[in-house]
Symmetry: C2
Subunit: 232 residues, 2 copies
């Protein structure tokens, strides 16, 4: 019996260096989940040279309103007509196939690196991931789970409520509520690896072991509360 | 007497459509501040085709550690040696020259559009905007002011403490504290224009008038509290 048999996982990964700790976390997730019987797909954004900017070229052919370019409206119309750029359609297909999406990245400026933010901006199009109505608990991806797996340069103490950066849950809010929960995702607890700027080999190994251990039972996890009233 | 005489303003602007409301807010700021005697520079990111992704090509010549690419470390070393990419150096010069930086953008997913996040990732290099030590109140840009001027699709009610999106100050936190305050900027109150998806012409005019009115006395404004202990 394999706990992940039939499950599909998408890892959206943003690090330039395959030998980085982010690369190790990504490879470990791939390995552990594959051994469970999961089918794992990886979008390695830098290796793919993924385009981050939301531009006219994301819509194939004529615009809905050529006199006034509104990215949200144009993408919504293009989505309905199957006229989104090929790279966006490919990522959307990976998301649709997935039971779980893992975002693996180093924190850049209290958020994702721009290349991953661009993935969100371009892939989570109205009509695909949400509707109006059809967001938060009614978001179109509500049958899927998602989690942030991230590394920080600064130590854990900086991200405590008393730390200079403030409680890490504040910086996670935009991503966990505004991006993931908005699309309906059941948000699992983040995997946070702190203090990569000054980490020992022993501590690295501990963090990898903890991640592997957690992934063994990932399918049993319940989502965290991402409602404004319960999150803080 | 002109209140802005000798002052320099940089507007970092991210909208694809010159006729957009973001474009109008940007043009209005340019006009009002120029009339005050300020010198205004605009970085129109989509028009510049600004590169958002943090990659190897941001460092000219040899790497500090060719065996393991660490973007922060490589950019810090390249900064010290004057070997950052030309477009990054040009933006850094604009920031250094400015007394006030205005970020003008539509909210994408509780944050900036990826093209503007990439501007932050690539321009605010260690050594230029901050040091270790040398961040938050000691950030290297502490003699400058900055503010977010943003538009939302959703109505103001969605961004109230009781709204589905939660209090807007939560989504502003990553940007105001984690990006601007981290570099030392004195953060002025954000200019938030809500509900652009369903706005009347009358309301648009009101928002433009309010922005122009505020900009008249912008140099008298005191920064908001961006400390974790005072922000929320």
């Amino acid at each position: 019996f394999f706990s992940g048999t039939g499950k599909k996982v998408l890892i959206v990964y943003a690090h330039q260096e395959p030998k980085s700790f982010n690369g190790s976390l990504k490879n470990l997730a791939d390995e552990v989940l594959s051994k469970q019987g999961c089918s794992v797909t990886i979008s390695d954004l830098y290796a793919m040279d993924f385009k981050p900017a939301a531009t006219r070229s994301d819509i194939i052919g004529e615009l809905y309103n050529p006199d006034h370019f509104n990215y949200r409206v144009e993408c919504f119309e293009a989505y309905k007509k199957g006229r989104l750029a090929k790279d966006v359609l490919e990522e959307q297909k990976k998301v649709l196939d997935a039971n779980l999406v893992i975002f693996q990245f180093p924190v850049y400026w209290f958020s994702m690196p721009a290349i991953m933010k661009g993935w969100i901006d371009r892939v989570f199009i109205q009509g695909f991931s949400y509707g109006i109505p059809g967001f938060y608990d009614e978001g179109f991806l509500k049958d899927k789970k998602a989690l942030l797996s991230l590394t920080t340069g600064g130590d854990e103490g900086m991200y405590l409520p008393t730390g200079a950066n403030g409680d890490i849950k504040y910086l996670l809010w935009s991503m966990q509520h505004g991006m993931m929960h908005f699309c309906g995702f059941q948000v699992l607890a983040p995997n946070v690896c702190y203090g990569m700027d000054n980490v020992t080999e022993e501590k690295r190994k501990e963090m990898l072991d903890a991640w592997a251990h957690r992934l063994q039972k990932i399918w049993e996890e319940k989502p965290i509360n991402c409602q404004p009233s319960g999150y803080f």
